[in-house]
């Protein structure tokens, strides 16, 4: 694999020397959403495979080009998982792309986000330097935390070549319950559960139905079930995986699909086109033709921000303007990692 890594380094160095922008590409599964505009493509897929995995350490180190499905199969065989349940958006998604996009799935509110599980990265910066930050241990405060910074940076700060992640044991037992409720009541309930010692690992509200997944030791899940009531959903697992990929029927819309990360206790947003709520109220999906500024304002008023996932121009994960001081820090950071601006130009947005 040394040759494959060297080839990536050489390509970045050549691009740096010539000042040619590169579009970093893994499995191309998310280009419907984000896609840098650049003539040349840097294909990360050849640099793949597991570097180190010892289940008792709860740490996995893999090369960025490794398919996400391969990683999950490997972990599954040991009864472990990526607890942030990242969406794949296609069969070819790579682990590097997954971390670069920083997306998390249904378990996010209970377990943490993609960045929460990053322990270390190896990356190639915009000068073509091969650098390592963080490591393979759970606790590490040596130097600035540049590895977690890579999660959600969309490859604009460096080409991720290896990632070390904390992994978790898969819960021995899971069960999905359902209630018929109004949106306001459902939001209240989700927030109440969050403040109680309950094994709730995911929630959703859609079409007048509140669902909760309980995970853990079977005795604990059964005890919680007895306390919460509700109806058992027979195909619970299928629902959460359809939600994770936004492949459930309700997401099949021609309208632009918005993802609003807001304060969990924010009241219903009052925009038409509300599709579904998850993460205990902290993630609200919207399918609507509303002007971007209107959606962003609604998200902002609810303490968060909005991203357009589908139905836009896949140039950048359009988010509302950053405050000028933050924008300046963003520009300076980009310059620190990639002085010539050759890595995924235009990402992660305008600043």
């Amino acid at each position: 694999m040394q040759a494959e890594l060297q080839s990536l380094i050489d390509q970045v160095r050549a691009a740096h020397a010539a000042g040619t922008p590169l579009r970093l590409q893994g499995g191309d599964s998310k280009s419907f959403w984000v896609c840098a505009q650049a003539e040349r493509t840097l294909d990360i897929r050849p640099y793949r495979g597991v570097v180190d995995y010892e289940p008792s350490e709860l740490v996995l180190t893999v090369r960025a080009g490794t398919p996400l499905s391969e990683v999950e199969a490997l972990l599954g065989a040991q009864g472990q998982m990526l607890a942030f349940e990242p969406p794949h958006y296609g069969p070819n998604a790579t682990l590097g792309g997954t971390i670069a996009c920083g997306l998390s799935g249904p378990r996010r509110a209970a377990a943490g986000s993609a960045r929460d599980f990053v322990l270390g990265v190896r990356l190639i910066d915009g000068l073509g330097r091969d650098l390592s930050f963080g490591g393979q241990v759970i606790k590490n405060v040596a130097g600035f935390d540049l590895s977690r910074l890579m999660a959600g940076a969309f490859g604009s700060l460096g080409v991720i070549t290896e990632v070390s992640l904390k992994v978790l044991p898969r819960p021995p037992f899971e069960l999905t319950l359902e209630w018929a409720l109004q949106e306001g009541v459902a939001l209240e309930r989700m927030n109440q559960w969050g403040g109680q010692p309950l094994p709730v690992s995911a929630t959703s509200f859609h079409n007048g139905r509140l669902r909760a997944r309980l995970s853990g030791a079977e005795v604990a899940v059964r005890a919680a079930q007895a306390r919460l009531g509700g109806e058992v959903v027979a195909d619970g697992a299928a629902w959460w995986s359809a939600l994770r990929e936004q492949s459930a029927a309700c997401f099949q819309t021609d309208k632009p699909l918005w993802r609003l990360a807001v304060k969990s206790s924010a009241p219903p947003l009052g925009l038409s086109g509300a599709l579904l709520t998850e993460w205990g109220g902290a993630l609200r999906w919207l399918a609507s033709e509303h002007a971007a500024s209107q959606v962003q304002k609604a998200a902002c008023d609810a303490g968060g921000h909005a991203l357009l996932l589908r139905g836009g121009h896949p140039a950048a994960p359009c988010f509302g303007g950053l405050d000028p001081i933050l924008a300046q820090i963003h520009r300076r950071l980009k310059h620190a990692f990639d002085p010539k601006g050759i890595l995924n130009p235009g990402l992660p947005g305008n600043f």
């Binding site: 040596a142 403040g195 990360a261 921000h305 988010f319 950071l333 600043f351």
Partner: protein, 488 residues
């Protein structure tokens, strides 16, 4: 550099913006700020300021920025790496007057607090709602939440509930130029680069934290503890690995070796087994059903790993008694010797046993006693080296021994600091852990926030020049093992 500005000039300039009594220059007034928890390093600050509002912090930073005066932020001064050590020509900016809890939102389970609020005070304030703030450094009665953010502090419960970085929602901070930034969001992720993750653990080098919104968790219904004794540290280390490998994430998994156990027993009489070479404390929390299930599985694993004695906490009083010895372990060890030096490396759990044995060997080589009390579940070691600073050369020998232990941590795939930070103390070992290219990127990141390099200068990230000198030293002694191996 222009001519240095006098103390009186700085004080009178700053007094224009601050309330009376907020600017100190008299040696007797500034003396309490000369050191943090690592008292081997001392430096009297030039000027101390004690602002009360964010606007005052802005004014101080703007003035210092313009006048090119270094600034060091300070919370409670419990840091163990010299991070808050004053700059001799600089302003020490104490956040100790930022003591207010601004908002508790039990529904969204967050609390917005000022940076000087003590870690434990947050959990106490939100207890009536059945909530608590999870990261619990042993110093939690004293350390500030601002300091916790700056160090990304951990605690006994971090294996299950995460470090500071995992339990923050929003951070407000003032840059060296005096500008306010707000990082994170009320939602679960924020737009743009994850600057909140970046500022966490940045040791006061990027910005001064003026407000922190933390995530609160529901208090577990029950908690129980097991105390397991072993006749060999290696067996205890393997027991830790076996518990994790079985898919259990205990709420706490701490280890004390024989010397630490005996010191703690003599101090607090927690009824620890005195003949043990290692004691493990395993805590399980959650619903009563979860806890009894997990306790039974842990017991089986401890037995099969060779525990010579296993005790259960029968009630809350006994659980607290089990922990009393662990919590008092540092001062207990402190009674054995005039001084002790605490180290903070992290290693993969699989190496616990072998690294502990190597530490004992090194201790014999250096002629120094060492006791180990640490976060075993995280692989975060805290060897305590016993020494007497009054004996000539003993501190130097201790530092050399400590440096060796840190290099050993890096060698087995770990890191030089798990939770206490680099500060001034481990700045040389940074050259062992990072290459010059990596260090130069750290400097560039620092410059993105503080181009003039005025905020906490000389800490956390060594200059390349310093490492070059270090590097020569290492080559000369030919001591650095396996320099050809990648350190990732």
């Amino acid at each position: 550099m222009t001519a240095p500005i006098s103390q009186a000039q700085i004080a009178s300039a700053l007094s224009r913006w601050l309330a009376p009594g907020s600017v100190l220059t008299n040696p007797e007034d500034v003396r309490p700020f000369e050191t943090d928890g690592l008292s081997a390093y001392r430096q009297l600050p030039y000027v101390v300021v004690l602002p009360r509002t964010e606007a005052e912090v802005q004014a101080v930073l703007r003035y210092c920025h313009e006048a090119h005066i270094p600034v060091v932020a300070r919370g409670s001064g419990t840091g163990l790496s010299g991070g808050a050590l004053p700059h001799k020509d600089g302003v020490l900016l104490s956040l100790s007057r930022f003591m207010r809890i601004l908002e508790i939102d039990p529904q969204a389970r967050v609390a917005r607090v000022q940076p000087g609020v003590r870690n434990l005070a947050i959990s106490e304030a939100v207890a009536p709602y059945g909530l608590y703030y999870a990261p619990d450094p042993s110093s939690q009665i004293a350390c500030s939440i601002g300091g916790n953010v700056a160090e990304n502090s951990g605690g006994v419960h971090c294996l299950k509930y995460g470090l500071t970085v995992h339990n923050l929602v929003k951070v407000r901070a003032v840059t060296m130029a005096g500008e306010v930034v707000e990082l994170g969001s009320d939602g679960l992720d924020a737009a743009g680069y994850d600057l909140m993750a970046l500022i966490t653990g940045s040791e006061g080098l990027l910005a001064v934290v003026t407000e922190v919104t933390v995530k609160l968790l529901p208090k577990p219904q029950t908690a129980k503890a097991i105390l397991a004794a072993f006749d060999d540290v290696e067996k205890a280390g393997n027991a830790v690995a076996n518990i994790i490998a079985a898919g259990i994430i205990p709420a706490g998994l701490e280890m004390m070796d024989g010397p630490a156990t005996r010191a703690a027993e003599a101090f607090v009489h927690a009824d620890y087994p005195l003949s043990a070479e290692a004691v493990l404390l395993c805590e399980s929390d959650g619903t009563p059903e979860e806890v009894s299930d997990e306790m039974a599985r842990m017991q089986a694993l401890l037995e099969s790993s060779g525990a010579i004695e296993i005790r259960y906490s029968q009630d809350e009083a006994q659980r607290l008694k089990f922990w009393a010895g662990r919590k008092a372990a540092f001062p207990a060890v402190g009674r054995l010797s005039p001084d002790y030096y605490c180290i903070d490396g992290t290693i993969p759990r699989r190496s616990l046993g072998s690294v502990l044995k190597r530490i004992y060997e090194l201790g014999r080589e250096y002629g120094l006693e060492v006791a180990n009390v640490f976060h075993a579940g995280d692989g975060n070691l805290h060897p305590l080296i016993l020494f007497d600073a009054a004996k000539p050369g003993e501190f130097e020998r201790t530092e050399a021994f400590a440096g060796k232990i840190l290099e050993l941590c890096v060698e087995v795939g770990g890191t030089i600091t798990g939770e206490h930070g680099v500060g001034v103390e481990k700045i040389n070992q940074m050259c062992v852990q990072f290459t010059p290219d990596e260090l130069s990127l750290f400097h560039a990141v620092k410059a993105a926030f503080d181009p003039e390099g005025l905020l906490n200068p000389g800490k956390a990230v060594p200059t390349l020049h310093r490492c070059a000198e270090m590097g020569r030293m290492h080559v000369h002694h030919n001591e650095l093992p396996h320099p050809e191996l990648p350190r990732f």
